[in-house]
């Protein structure tokens, strides 16, 4: 029963669509804004190939390593009788609270001169940097994403399928290969997509570890030279890789829509008895927890105790206020815009609304540096007065993270159906009163979750902030990054700690909220 969507839904959605696509369009225009000879030289540089190889190598290694860590953890915490599964689950999610570049900082800080290792052994430890350092840091941050997806897939899997496979004559091992693993594939692929987007868009880790991927090269090019043509080309190439991979992923995912057939709730699986494997399982979990939680925390805490950590409390307060002053408006704006986007996609599904909703996801998937550069190009050309203002930063945050806000609102609309609103109408309430007394209260938890999610992302955000923030603007992330690049680990520590604590706090509020709804 389709109806034409009202203007107050379409206008904001159209504005979002335009605002996402215009900077990308300008970027392309800027890239081709050179004479053909120069263009040929820029595009066919050997360096591009090297960057491509670096970027893909890093992404593949991070994905492979995250899988090797996450798959056993997910299986152990859902399908076995391992004691302490809840704690293991927490430990497996916890690294999400430590942004990639903070992990990078912690890893660099561990082996630095006068760092924790040298204080114990007298000499600096192995310095993790370059490819290995970047891969380790990115894996630590990303494996929890894979874990969460696989865990959900394991938990929702219908155990009668494995029973069926056993009764058809397959050994437990063959059942795992032929029934269990294939069912994990859709969830696994969606988590791989997220990891992929993160690694391609990552700037903090690769720049701290000095490993040249497209993102890092783009940044170096941007700050080193006034000629933006090559920077624009790097951004376009990064965008092309991202698009190719995302489209390939979607293709794969679309062909794999697995759904449970049959009626009734899926029965609960019998947990597998670990027996003699309990000790090796704990050893594995111990190593993972040590590397992903204990080591970063130790490093941060160690540097907090060093001279230099407590020199300038004012600066810390100032940067906190700075973070708040851009993250809060962006969270509010993104949540506000998510409402019409979610309404359109759920209530007025059509080709156009589908494209509009997609534009939010394009904003999210576009690597942050490329998105930022796009905005620089547009603003410098069309509205120079807007360049390096807090408002521009808020706008870029909003468009980049809008997709995160749409999810929870959509989920809320799954409950607040048109039927519920009609029930209210037939009980005597007009459209406005119905929105106020029925739709809004049902959506409220989703709106809160959306705002917290976006706020958290903005708080941790680095590349957009570096490129777009006003001069002399300070945020927690900016200051932490600046000190770390100068190898001032003690001075960076308070910022790292603040970011980790804030992330942990907000994440736990989020989990608590979601848990309450269930």
């Amino acid at each position: 029963m389709k109806r034409t969507p009202p203007w107050f839904l379409t206008v904001p959605a159209l504005a979002v669509g335009l605002a996402v696509l215009v900077p990308i369009g300008y970027l392309a225009a800027r890239a081709f804004d050179a004479d053909p000879a120069t263009l040929r030289d820029l595009v066919w540089r050997a360096r591009n190939l090297e960057l491509l190889a670096n970027t893909l190598a890093l992404a593949s290694v991070v994905i492979a390593a995250s899988t090797l860590v996450a798959l056993p953890l997910a299986w152990l915490t859902t399908r076995t009788d391992l004691p302490g599964r809840f704690v293991v689950t927490l430990l497996s999610i916890l690294p999400l609270a430590i942004p990639g570049y903070v992990v990078g900082y912690a890893l660099l800080g561990i082996g630095a001169p006068h760092g924790p290792l040298s204080s114990i052994f007298g000499v600096g430890g192995p310095r993790l940097s370059g490819f290995v350092g970047a891969a380790v840091a990115l894996t630590i941050y990303n494996f929890p994403l894979v874990y969460l997806h696989l865990r959900t897939a394991f938990a929702s899997m219908d155990p009668s399928l494995t029973d069926a496979a056993r009764s058809l004559g397959l050994s437990p091992r063959r059942v795992f290969e032929r029934v269990t693993l294939p069912q994990l594939v859709p969830a696994y692929l969606s988590s791989v997509l997220l990891v992929l987007l993160y690694v391609l868009g990552d700037f903090g880790v690769v720049s701290l570890m000095r490993f040249e991927t497209f993102s890092y090269a783009l940044y170096l090019q941007y700050i080193a030279s006034l000629d933006r043509t090559y920077a624009a080309w790097l951004a376009l190439m990064l965008l092309a890789i991202t698009t190719t991979l995302v489209v390939a992923e979607f293709r794969l995912l679309r062909d794999l829509a697995l759904e449970r057939t049959g009626l009734g709730a899926p029965p609960k699986a019998r947990p597998r008895r670990l027996g003699a494997w309990t000790t090796p399982a704990y050893a594995f979990i111990g190593v993972v927890a040590l590397a992903s939680v204990a080591l970063p925390v130790w490093s941060i805490v160690y540097w907090m105790g060093q001279r230099g950590a407590w020199t300038d409390a004012n600066e810390l307060v100032r940067s906190f206020a700075g973070s708040l002053s851009v993250s809060a408006p962006a969270a509010f704006l993104a949540t506000l815009l998510a409402v019409p986007m979610a309404f359109l996609s759920r209530r007025h599904a059509s080709g156009l609304t589908h494209v509009l909703e997609r534009s939010a996801y394009i904003g999210y998937a576009t690597p942050a540096l490329a998105f930022a550069l796009g905005w620089v190009v547009v603003v410098l050309r069309a509205a120079p007065w807007f360049y390096q203002t807090a408002a521009l930063l808020v706008l870029a945050y909003t468009l980049h993270f809008l997709a995160q806000a749409i999810g929870p609102v959509r989920a809320g609309l799954h409950v607040a159906t048109p039927r519920i609103e009609e029930a209210s109408r037939s009980l005597g309430l007009g459209p406005l009163a119905t929105f106020r007394r029925v739709t809004l209260p049902i959506l409220r938890p989703g709106l809160t979750a959306a705002a917290i999610l976006v706020f958290l992302s903005c708080l941790k955000e680095l590349p957009l902030t570096i490129i777009l923030s006003p001069l002399d603007f300070e945020t927690l992330a900016l200051n932490m990054y600046a000190f770390t690049t100068e190898a001032m680990f003690a001075e960076a520590a308070p910022y790292a700690l603040s970011i980790v604590l804030l992330s942990a706090l907000l994440t736990s509020i989020l989990f608590h909220k979601v848990g309450e709804e269930r």
Partner: protein, 342 residues
């Protein structure tokens, strides 16, 4: 005057060639339970939604309690129609307790009286002890009773119910049907409900309108529809009649199964409906058309036997004594007159 009058309603959804509701008319009397019965896609739910004001017809008129609520340029929005709607999936407010759900429509009452009225209704629906619970904490049957209590609380002119028993367990339906019918009779409540289930319609409604492709084919009491179907659609939809065509010879028709007496005189090409329970199996005799038993399904108290003739296949309900097996040749003899249908 009728309580509810629906005249010549016409509704077409965007992008669809065939109208969902196509010139529909019927009337509901006060205190009556009226059922709209039809297969899915026949426009029943759309009709109900137009009566509630959730959907606007392209043309047509709806009059409720003497007031035009749709048509002739009038449109009364749903919140001012004073109709109660019970949704198929109940649509209880998930953020409100059972009590608050029932009180939701009582804003017309003074504040002090609302809780009392809601409690009174909950007690009658045997839900008083669940008043403080949230809908998700209730069973399907309880949720349905809350939905009904919520719709009845503001004392609407009419209760509209969309597949009211569709989301209940089959063993709960019979019981729920009886209880709700009792409540409606007790309060002289008028109701219109929609269903695709003929058992439900026959057992619950005072009168039924059989719908097909956006129109009503026939209106009548359950007995009338069962015994005197006017069209072949009504005959086969209700009770699964055998439809046979043949040549009318006055008071009988020559059909593929032989000569069948009919309820009124007819000549030329005639279509008749024959209930499976009105047929009897006999051993084939020479000179009479005979068919072959193609299947025999045992139901416990009776049997369904399908018999294939040269140009038709019929279902026969026979009792446990039926001696005929699959493959045997039999003759089918009508025990009642065939009903001539359009």
């Amino acid at each position: 005057m009728s309580l509810l009058l629906v005249e010549d309603l016409f509704l077409r959804f965007r992008g669809q060639a065939r109208p969902a509701v196509d010139g529909l008319s019927f009337a509901v009397e006060r205190g009556e339970i009226f059922g709209l019965l039809g297969p899915s896609g026949s426009g029943k739910t759309s009709t109900l939604r137009m009566i509630a004001g959730f959907e606007r017809p392209e043309r047509g008129r709806i009059v409720l309690d003497g007031r035009a609520i749709e048509g002739d340029g009038a449109f009364v929005p749903p919140e001012r129609r004073n109709v109660g709607f019970v949704f198929q999936e109940f649509a209880l407010f998930p953020h409100l307790t059972v009590m608050e759900n029932v009180m939701f429509g009582l804003h017309g009452l003074p504040r002090g009286e609302r809780a009392g009225r809601a409690m009174e209704i909950l007690e009658r629906a045997q839900l008083a002890e669940h008043a403080a619970r949230y809908p998700r904490q209730l069973s399907g049957g309880q949720q349905q009773r809350v939905a009904l209590a919520r719709a009845m609380a503001p004392r609407p002119h009419v209760i509209l119910m969309d597949e009211p028993f569709g989301s209940l367990d089959p063993d709960l339906r019979e019981d729920a049907r009886r209880k709700i019918a009792d409540v409606f009779r007790e309060h002289a409540m008028s109701a219109v409900f929609v269903t695709h289930d003929q058992t439900e319609a026959l057992g619950f409604a005072d009168r039924i309108g059989v719908m097909r492709e956006g129109r009503i084919e026939q209106v009548g009491t359950p007995e009338e529809l069962y015994n005197k179907p006017r069209t072949r659609f009504v005959a086969s939809f209700i009770g699964g009649s055998n439809i046979l065509s043949g040549i009318g010879r006055g008071d009988c028709v020559m059909t593929p199964i032989g000569r069948v007496p009919i309820d009124r005189d007819a000549t030329g090409n005639v279509t008749i409906a024959l209930r499976p329970e009105h047929l009897q199996l006999e051993a084939a005799t020479a000179g009479e058309p005979s068919g072959q038993v193609v299947s025999r399904v045992f139901h416990g108290h009776d049997l369904t036997i399908r018999v294939a003739f040269a140009e038709a296949e019929v279902s026969v309900w026979d009792d446990y004594r039926c001696p005929f097996r699959v493959g045997e040749a039999v003759r089918v003899r009508p025990r009642e007159k065939g009903v001539v249908v359009e």
